[in-house]
Symmetry: C2
Subunit: 262 residues, 2 copies
């Protein structure tokens, strides 16, 4: 199939290259507000055109991926001039499929790869879950097939569940990474190397999946070791924000981490 | 060497067995308040005696490991009757070596394996950092040698640095695990499987160590995507504690995660 990417950020960067590597697909165009950025991506592709115009009425592409920031998504989608009868997919975890409703005469859907992307780091899509959603049932098979060409782990996930999945991923990955950053800063102050924590962190992840995270919980809060908690809060007493993260998570561990959702 | 373990919890459980596996050492006694618990561990050992008495004046052990909860440590240490000239080591990350000062006529120190232990899960000590501290310089070589018999990664860490290391480990592991538990609960409500997050979590850990966690930070807070942050806070609006964890960590990410320690 012929594909076009609106956006040249981390998601477009890896998706476009992954599709071409299958040799089932080719990328027709890459759009970015900055032509320079669009060209950086087309330089990695076989025969794609870089553009900063949103007029695609002459495009030969059959599927359009809109991979832009959530804030820009609705606005940019409304500006694009599509050819007739194409499929338009956005790649956002947090946005519903309806955000594309303003586009007429196209089929819409979502193609959300559940992974954290950085341009410099190669990605193996085979193991990444791809969550898809389509508004028109007739397109389901086609989009599913498209996803299966780059990945083994394809799931139909509706807009609400995708939002929930994205929220869970923010806790398990973005916030987890920030806790690593806090740990790193704490260690740096004493010239201790963050790498000393690597075996412990890797074991924590292994345990969470071989058992459950609830059953794997250890540490001062879990064993109600208030003496140690006080020592830690004292060490952090010059940083009220980090101290309140310490208190909140400790409280939540002791409350049996009940999550009540709307 | 002959070793005795005071305590039969997770740390004693794995350390005692790891030492005997080297065939350089044998465990003489295992103490627990509960004789049943002590016997569970001695059943795993060659020729160790289970006991619930703290009178070790007749013991042939040369090194005593006190592996009990931080709250009980000072109290139990003061109650034990040791043979003369033995080495007494506690295994706590958060307690200073001075907590053993009340014990007379022995050499004291700390032997802290930086890992999360669960009885049911085997442990490979080779890759686990062991942090040691001794009050008497003359004992340094001996304790270091003892540690090297089970592990390749031995570091001399003083009491303050060990406390800092333990605090960092609480953020990077105990708190991280709790974020996994929150993610799991969020997913469970919608019958989504926590395993779907495994590739994303594993990639997050890899990136944090191949780059730095600061440079790897992604997500709505990092890109100031307030639209998504509002969607997430709304999803959590029935749970003020989890909502405040979300807010605090997001604030901390946006503040450049500065940690100021006492």
């Amino acid at each position: 199939m012929k594909l076009t990417f609106i956006g040249s950020g981390n998601v477009a960067w890896h998706l476009a290259q992954a599709f071409e590597k299958t040799s089932h697909h080719s990328v027709a165009e890459v759009y970015s507000r900055s032509l320079t950025n669009a060209k950086k991506l087309t330089a990695k592709l076989y025969n794609a055109t870089a553009t900063n115009s949103l007029d695609f009425t002459q495009s030969k592409a059959e599927v359009f991926f809109i991979a832009v920031t959530d804030d820009a998504l609705a606005h940019i989608a409304a500006e694009i001039r599509f050819p007739k009868d194409v499929i338009v997919l956005h790649t956002s975890g947090a946005q519903s499929v309806e955000v594309l409703d303003s586009i007429k005469n196209v089929k819409t859907g979502v193609f959300y790869p559940l992974q954290t992307f950085t341009k410099a780091k190669p990605v193996n899509f085979q193991t990444i879950p791809i969550c898809i959603e389509v508004k028109d049932k007739l397109q389901e098979k086609l989009i599913e097939k498209l996803a299966f060409t780059i990945c083994e782990n394809v799931a139909f996930v509706n807009s609400y569940d995708r939002k929930v999945l994205h929220l869970a991923a923010v806790f398990a990955c973005n916030f987890t990474n920030h806790l690593f950053a806090i740990a790193n800063k704490i260690l740096k102050k004493e010239n201790l190397d963050f790498k000393i924590l690597q075996p412990l962190i890797e074991e924590t992840v292994k345990k969470a999946f071989s058992n459950t995270p609830e059953k794997s919980q250890t540490g001062p809060a879990a064993r109600h070791d208030n003496k140690t908690i006080q020592v830690h809060l004292q060490l952090l007493e010059n940083d009220t924000l980090i101290q309140s993260i310490y208190r909140n998570i400790s409280d939540s561990i002791q409350n049996g981490h009940y999550v009540s959702m709307k």
